[in-house]
């Protein structure tokens, strides 16, 4: 199952899944740092190479992007129902979202429905903008934009933003 673009979409669909299968559905929240496995490193290098090529092509000064020391962790939320095999994902790396996400998970645990989550309509607007913003900045990398990309690639994107 794909990663959902906004936390609201994730939380709403999770609420529906939990309502449908309250007994078997579970929510996993994973807080993790990018690993140093070979595959990850290679992917990061490839994405970096692409970015560099693009930056030089557009005449941008390649003052290197995010230094490796600032490796950011990611928070991956997963709602999984084993009987139906439905799995909903959401991934973020913003600390500011943690509080809201966890509190909403609490509401989900308490059996709240979609309306009971209290997600206002202003929230998705803000989220959509935040998702869109990096996409505009890094149009060359639009292909790699899928949320399923490695975390390192994401970090690099952020770095790319900074240097403009």
């Amino acid at each position: 199952m794909p990663y959902l673009p906004t936390s609201q979409a994730y939380l709403e669909q999770s609420a529906q899944l939990l309502q449908a299968y309250p007994d078997t559905t579970r929510i996993v929240t994973k807080y993790s740092f990018p690993t140093n496995r070979r595959g990850n490193i290679i992917r990061a290098q490839k994405s970096q190479a692409r970015k560099d090529a693009k930056a030089t092509a557009t005449g941008g000064t390649t003052t290197t992007s995010a230094p490796p020391s600032t490796a950011t962790a990611t928070l991956t939320l997963k709602t999984f129902n084993p009987t139906t095999g439905i799995c909903l994902h959401y991934r973020t790396n913003k600390l500011q979202e943690v509080g809201r996400l966890i509190t909403t998970l609490g509401k989900l645990a308490a059996g709240a429905d979609v309306a009971g989550l209290g997600l206002s309509t202003t929230v998705p607007a803000a989220d959509v903008e935040m998702v869109d913003a990096p996409a505009e900045e890094v149009t060359p990398a639009a292909k790699t934009q899928g949320q399923g990309q490695g975390q390192s690639a994401k970090g690099k994107k952020k770095g790319g933003k900074g240097k403009r």
């Binding site: 996993v28 929240t29 807080y31 740092f33 790396n93 600390l95 943690v98 509080g99 609490g106 403009r164």
Partner: protein, 133 residues
Amino acid sequence: MAPHLGHDEFFKSLSELLSKTSQQVHGSVNLTQKALVNVPGATTTNSQPSILIRATDGNTNTPNLKNESKEAKIANNKSQKVKLSTIVSPDDIEAFYVRYAEVCKTGMSGLKKRDRRARKAKTKGGAAKVTKA
């Protein structure tokens, strides 16, 4: 499976685990929540089941030494898997999650912090970012 912890103990261990992971800038913490159905010892009020909360590090390829104490596990985490769990009864969910969110916010310091000033200075098109209050 180790016995379930009380809430206080669970939060204490969890914040230790999170901050340790953040300091190492390596590894991961898995937090699971699921409804606890048909399990003795779990209180169920008006069809609302208790919630089981688990926290582990991703250290799966090492044996889980059950007979060692929690503190020892955390101390030499390198070789041992950390497993924490607690049960939240339906009445406590709200209070529990307030603390849970707090512990997570403090512990997950490896995530990107909101830094409005730096972003504004750096990014031209940073306006969209800041709209999220």
